[in-house]
Amino acid sequence: MKKVSVSFTLNGDPVTADVPVTWTLLKTLREYFELTGAKEGCGVGECGACTVLVDGKAVNSCLYPIPEVEGRSVTTIEGIAEKDGTLHPIQKAFLENNGVQCGFCTSGMIMSAKALLDQNPDPSEEDIRKSIAGNFCRCTGYVQIVESIQMAAKLKE
């Protein structure tokens, strides 16, 4: 299969991936870089479990063709805590307020929330719900996820 060599920034580090040209960003993250935090919940852009940030925007990495990552900056759930292990305020808030149950949707939820809070540090509930409208969760009923993101916004202040 035809391969491509794609260079980009991954969680702050410059990287190059040599992968089949048909691979998605999700597959590259999971298989090539062994970053399995982003999950495949559907593989077709309908659930948000695979959400990562590309140049600060939340995207469904299961739909994102790897060649298009060239030169961009990708952030995954593995890249948002401090280097010393201190959790990002959103991660803290999700633990604090039960925003995580089974956790399968969590990486995607947190990345969508991060994209929002980086843009809008003081979002309304409506803003928050919109930002995670494409992130499905079966466990929580979203209530404590929304609350966790609200709490994170406060923690960040």
């Binding site: 999950k39 991660q91 633990l95 604090e96 995580v100 009923g141 209530v143 996820i145």
Partner: protein, 800 residues
């Protein structure tokens, strides 16, 4: 109120930090050296004879390591009624029938290999409607039973019947009687993590199965039975849970894909992983059991129920998994939700060529409660009694013994109903009615202190402490995301006298754990909590026994040191009697101290000092602390008449909703949803709310949007786009109310709470819709189309 340090507190889920950093390893992420990827070829017919399978092209594809058809593996029957084989050899009976399987070095190659397998079918007549399937002359889904004897009918040999009292007499006594036809459909559990497993044999054919099952020991039982028929009798089976991406009933049975992974691993001598994609999750995983009910109830002039009579038909699909046993749980609300002296319930399960069903949160309870609570509303109206008042009149009460012999101990149902009334301003709003707005409520009863559905309903637990004061807990249950790592660590910390962050819990490994009946039936906190209390009491006693010996030694050693430093130091005169008996000591927040003088300046010692000094002593004297417990409560299995007190205690609750219905579009908007739950004791209020919100939301989906559309046996909407699960944009204002009657048998008074939130939600919505627009939707989900059709019929003068 005892002054607890951790129980009843909203301790955060810090123990699960790996889930917010991407470190948690789900089955999706698990990879073993040399692992192959398995894929399954499914039937393309609802009912057909397999005339020919040619897998030769697939076998020749580079990277393929095995291709199996029904001819390549032993012809062994599996499943609850042993009505299917792992791969189907001669006949397919539903679209999800597994016809062949491939193992290859990548999932892509495995997929390609599937497309190279040629299967020729000869279609057979099929039957999709259970009522049709019951009729004489209907096409037979199975021509023989498990033993090869010919069968004459599609009706399963599982006659669920429950009968108490004198129905004929009761009918005569009833002043008001109503009859409703009610139906519920298939819904998918929609775990966000799709299903999968990794099967791996060692050189001696002992199996390790990485599986997200919530019944790890049940898995072993079923697989070992299979092993005994394929020549692997006596081999060791170990089941290990990865982190589980949602369960909700899907992991109760050993699924066919797991047997297929085992066969592929055996055949290739390599670890084999099978991981479902989302479409398979919708097409090939057994969903919630659908059912149709005809329910009649009667009450006297005062509104007291005199009888309940219900017949149900369940579309079993082509094979039998736990779905066919949901009537055993339906009997509980049928016989015991509200006081009703005369009860008749009969459920008939019928084979069809549809997909078959399994368990989902609540088991058969949501279906049956939808029937009972729809009927309660009809009857209240017929009797001219306010629906809330009607429920209060008939409410269950502490000390009741129900017709099913359930012994009700603690019961907060009255408080729940009253709380819902108050929060919804029920009486005020009923008086000042607003057009198209309405109120409805429904209640529930569920097992909340275990459920003896197998001979043992036990739960084993082991607790050991290291010399630093860390506690290892080896749980025999599984963690599916319900919060047990936190709650069990709170219980252990409280009971042992350490802190939750000192507790490390291993879940889901049959090689380490004692035994457990399964993390199902909302039983985990109750069972594991009680087991933990027993084990912790034993471990604590061991520590205190050591402390009695060691504290004086530590104190004296300290005095010696002090004297060395300061020769003038005068040893105080201490009352060693304070610490002479382990009974006189206690442990709290990592410190051991005499009960009579907790702040004693010399006798208050860190627990780790005792553990270290107890271990590093010498031959014959060194001690370690470890204890185990197996808690198996004194409950009863259901007898032949389907009676028995199968749980130590029962959960009650009431959901009330206010809705607004748009008569133009048929849309239902939930303005307020109050979920009042009798939980015994809230062990961790924040986590508890998560269970109520999550279950409540799934219940709203069950009520309003969710449905697997099955047409002629085929799933028509196998994607999130077409299956309408609620998203964050579907705002449902859920207001939980926690009722804590404190249960004498629960650990620290707690009852189970995992399933209840879902159970009464859909009927409460249906009843509110009726209150709003005067049409009763008796067929879930309550879609805008159904509402518009019903409104049209009402306008046309038809009675709905």
């Amino acid at each position: 109120m005892p002054d607890y340090l951790f129980v009843g507190k909203s301790i955060p889920r810090t123990i699960e930090a790996d889930k917010v950093t991407g470190k948690a390893v789900y089955i999706n992420d698990l990879r073993r050296p040399g692992m192959l990827y398995g894929k399954i070829l499914y039937s393309t017919h609802a009912h057909a004879r397999i005339k020919r399978i040619d897998a030769s092209k697939a076998r020749r594809l580079q990277g393929v390591r095995a291709v199996l058809t029904g001819r390549d593996i032993p012809d062994v029957r599996v499943g609850f009624l042993k009505d299917q084989t792992v791969l189907k050899k001669d006949v397919v009976r539903q679209f999800r029938d597994e016809v062949a399987a491939v193992a290859a070095i990548t999932p892509e190659i495995a997929e390609e290999a599937l497309s190279l397998i040629e299967v020729e079918y000869e279609p057979l007549p099929a039957v999709f409607d259970p009522i049709e399937a019951m009729k004489e002359g209907a096409p037979l889904v199975h021509e023989t039973d498990a033993r090869g004897r010919p069968v004459k009918s599609n009706i399963l040999p599982l006659p669920w019947k429950f009968s108490v009292g004198d129905m004929e007499q009761a009918r005569k006594e009833a002043a008001f009687v109503t009859k409703d036809h009610v139906s519920t459909t298939w819904v998918n559990q929609c775990c966000m993590g799709t299903s999968g497993c990794v099967a791996e044999f060692d050189q001696s054919n002992n199996l390790t199965l990485y599986s997200p099952t919530n019944v790890i020991f049940g898995h072993i039982g079923r697989i070992s039975e299979y092993f005994s028929r394929i020549g692997l009798a006596g081999k060791k089976i170990r089941v290990v849970n990865p982190v589980v991406g949602g369960s909700f009933g899907t992991k109760l049975d050993t699924d066919i894909y797991e047997f297929i992974a085992i066969q592929l691993a055996l055949n290739t001598r390599k670890p084999v992983k099978i991981l479902f994609d989302r479409e398979e999750e919708f097409r090939a995983l057994p969903p919630r059991q659908p059912a149709v009910f005809t329910i009649e109830q009667g009450c006297d002039r005062e509104g007291r129920l005199v009888f309940r009579h219900c017949e149900a038909v369940l579309d079993n699909g082509a094979y039998t998994s736990w779905g066919a046993t949901t009537p055993s749980v339906m009997i509980m609300p049928m016989s015991s939700l509200y006081r009703v002296p005369n009860v008749y319930f009969k459920a008939t399960c019928v084979y069809t060529n549809n997909i078959y069903a399994q368990a989902m949160r609540g088991y058969g309870n949501p279906q049956a409660t939808f029937a009972v609570e729809t009927s309660m509303d009809s009857l209240a109206e017929a009797a001219g009694i306010d629906p809330a008042e009607f429920r209060l009149i008939n409410r269950n009460q502490p000390g009741d013994e129900t017709p099913m012999n359930l012994k009700i101990t603690s019961c907060g149902l009255e408080e729940c109903i009253r709380a819902v009334k108050e929060r919804l301003q029920w009486d005020e709003k009923k008086k000042a009615r607003q057009k198209t707005r309405g109120l409805g409520m429904a209640s529930l009863i569920h097992v909340a202190g275990g459920a003896r559905v197998t001979k043992s309903d036990g739960h084993g637990i082991m607790v050991k402490l290291d010399e630093f004061g860390h506690v290892d807990v080896i749980e025999s249950g599984t963690d599916q995301g319900q919060g047990s790592p936190t709650v069990i660590s709170q219980i252990v910390a409280e009971a042992l006298g350490v802190r939750p962050e000192d507790v490390f819990i291993t879940f889901g490994d049959t090689a380490l754990a004692l035994w457990d009946a399964g993390t199902h039936a909302s039983r985990h906190t109750f069972m594991a909590g009680n087991a933990a209390l027993i084990a912790c009491a034993k471990a604590k006693r061991q520590i205190l026994d050591m402390a009695v010996d060691i504290i004086p030694k530590i104190v004296k050693l300290n005095f010696k040191r002090m004297k060395r430093k300061d020769p003038g130091f005068a040893e105080p005169d201490l009352d060693y009697g304070l610490i002479a008996d382990p009974e006189d000591l206690d442990i709290r927040d990592r410190m051991i101290f005499p009960k009579k003088e907790p702040d004693h300046p010399y006798f208050r010692v860190p627990i780790s000092d005792i553990l270290r000094n107890g271990l590093h002593v010498g031959i014959g004297e060194s001690r370690v602390v470890a204890a185990e417990a197996f808690y198996d409560p004194p409950t009863e299995m259901l007898n032949r008449e389907m009676k028995g007190n199968l749980s130590m205690t029962y959960a009650f609750g009431t959901t009330g909703v206010e809705v607004e219905v748009d008569e133009e579009t048929g849309d239902v908007r939930i303005l307020n949803l109050v979920a009042a739950h009798d939980v015994g004791k809230a062990m961790n209020p924040t986590l508890l709310l998560g269970q109520i919100y999550g279950a409540g939301y799934t219940g709203v989906g069950y009520g309003l949007t969710e449905e697997i559309k099955v047409r002629n046996g085929r799933v028509m909407n196998p994607s999130f786009r077409d299956y309408q699960m609620l998203t964050a944009m579907d705002v449902v204002p859920i207001e939980p109310v926690i009722v804590e009657p404190d249960d004498k048998d629960g650990p620290y008074g707690a009852k189970g709470v995992g399933e209840p939130g879902l159970v009464p939600t859909a009927p409460a919505i249906a009843n509110a819709v009726y209150d709003a627009i005067g049409v009763r939707i008796r067929d879930l989900p309550i879609t805008p189309e159904k509402i518009l059709t019903a409104l049209k019929q009402k306008k046309g003068g038809m009675n709905v």
